[in-house]
Amino acid sequence: MSWLPVVVKACYFLAALLFILGLKRMSSPRTARGGIVWAGVGMLVAVLATFALPDIHHRGLILAAVLIGVAAAWWSGRRVAMTAMPQMVALYNGMGGGAAAGIGAAELVAHVRRLVPAASDTSPLRPESWTLVALHQAPALGLLSPVTLGLGVLGALIGAVSFSGSLIAFAKLQGWLDKRFVFPGQRIANLLVLLLALLHGAMLVGGDLTMPVIAGFFLFALLFGLMMTLPIGGADMPVVISLYNAFTGLAVAFEGYVLGNEAMIIAGMVVGAAGTLLTQLMAKAMNRSLGNVLFGSFGAAAGGAAQEISGAQKPIEAADSAVMMAYAERVAIVPGYGMAVAQAQHKVWEFAKLLIERGVKVKFAIHPVAGRMPGHMNVLLAEAGVPYDLIEDMDDINPEFPNTDVVLVIGANDVVNPMAKTDPSSPIYGMPILDVAAAKQVIVVKRGKGTGFAGIENTLFYADNTRMLYGDGQAAAGQLVSELKALDT
């Protein structure tokens, strides 16, 4: 049976290779579909190989847990709406963090169990010298070396924070927790909880391995995840989810080191690094520094008098809008999360197809943070069947707006707000925006005259070349389609 461990190691190597190649393929639209399948095969190989390990007990329990976990996640993942994707990613990510923390906890508890007989064997030694015993006899007893212990504790800390934090992020995006919990001295309280968690972790590494310390460590780590996430507003949540994704990756890598599992180390570290970079890209796209997201509060810092808005919003009818676009040469559609909430993307794409049939050049202009995560809007448009080569990023389309005849803004608000450029007192000042105001004509589909998600006024709505098409996104898009069809009859 001595060849078995080698086969298992080879399987882990294959899994790590497939993960990296799969992620690589996922970074291009053409091969992305195959990428997830490659990574999936890697996962399957790794899991089956682990089952074959000779020293694994409780195989029945393992199988039961795997089946329950897979069934529940498969079922929920299949039926969730595309608009709810960000919170599902948060949920599954939290589960991964929880699993990493669970591994850390199980290893620590097992370590304590192995430690006690080790100490009693050498009874003259006082409890303080347990660590010396552990160091000396570590390999023979299967005890953890201080470095391993340290990484295990660190991984458990990060995993626990990611677990409780992701659950809060999920609850917030799901709409179960609308309120931001802010109280005076919050930062100091959070810092205190983090210090307590770190202190307990240091005690564990320093040799004070007792059950109360382990329990305290996990309690404070979980509490810190909760307290860190609670004050963060829904608009900033994508950055936080991405950050926790990177956290879980790191936690998995560290626990992988404790278990001597190379597949976990490599996969976890790749995700840790990729997730960190992705978090930075997202924060940059939203014009928020990571520190600002985690420790600032949105809108609170905005001082000074807000810019005066002159003029009035000028309404337009669906029929006139349809005619305007039907006889335009270039039309750009700027969809926002509001369109997705109204489930209007299918109607919007139907409208765009009719325009294309008439020879109008139609592009979809996507702000990096349209939707709730970078790229979320692309997914929602793809769901409606919009081909990805009609979709333009902000940097590519912004120079084209002056040559665009009509821009149709549907369900977007802050990402087209010129105040981000002109009003230093605005909370979104400095955020890169889509320059739709530069187009010849702008039509904004909007439910009413109120302010957007972030509660900020938008000067675009009052501009001379802007017309407001009031109505629900779904209904307005439907009207545009039928008006356009009526043109030809």
Partner: protein, 100 residues
């Protein structure tokens, strides 16, 4: 057990790999890629299986069981969600507007 410095090298090279993969990704794939990387750290399931497989006391078994349950959820959920998203990406050549 992996030697400390070898592990350090693995950590470093894997980190560079992850950084390189993301560095050139178009924005339209950020969400699927985040979801895909979420799936990849579902490999934690393997570690959870080992932890449960080595458990001897009921308490450790309970912790291990919970870890396997959560890890399996991470892996399966991450896969389904990513696959569903990527399934929808198609260029305009292939009948646009097709059924999802």
């Amino acid at each position: 057990m992996i030697d400390g410095f070898v592990a350090l090298y693995i950590f470093m090279l894997a980190a560079f790999t992850g950084h390189e993969i993301i560095a050139r990704v178009p924005v339209i794939l950020h969400t699927p890629l985040m979801s895909g990387s979420n799936f990849v750290h579902g490999i934690v399931l393997v570690g959870a299986m080992i932890a449960l497989g080595h458990a001897t006391t009921p308490f450790e078994t309970g912790l291990g069981f919970l870890a396997v349950l959560l890890g399996a959820g991470n892996a399966a959920g991450g896969y389904v969600v990513t696959e569903r998203m990527l399934e929808m990406f198609k260029p305009s050549g292939k009948q646009p507007g097709g059924k999802v």
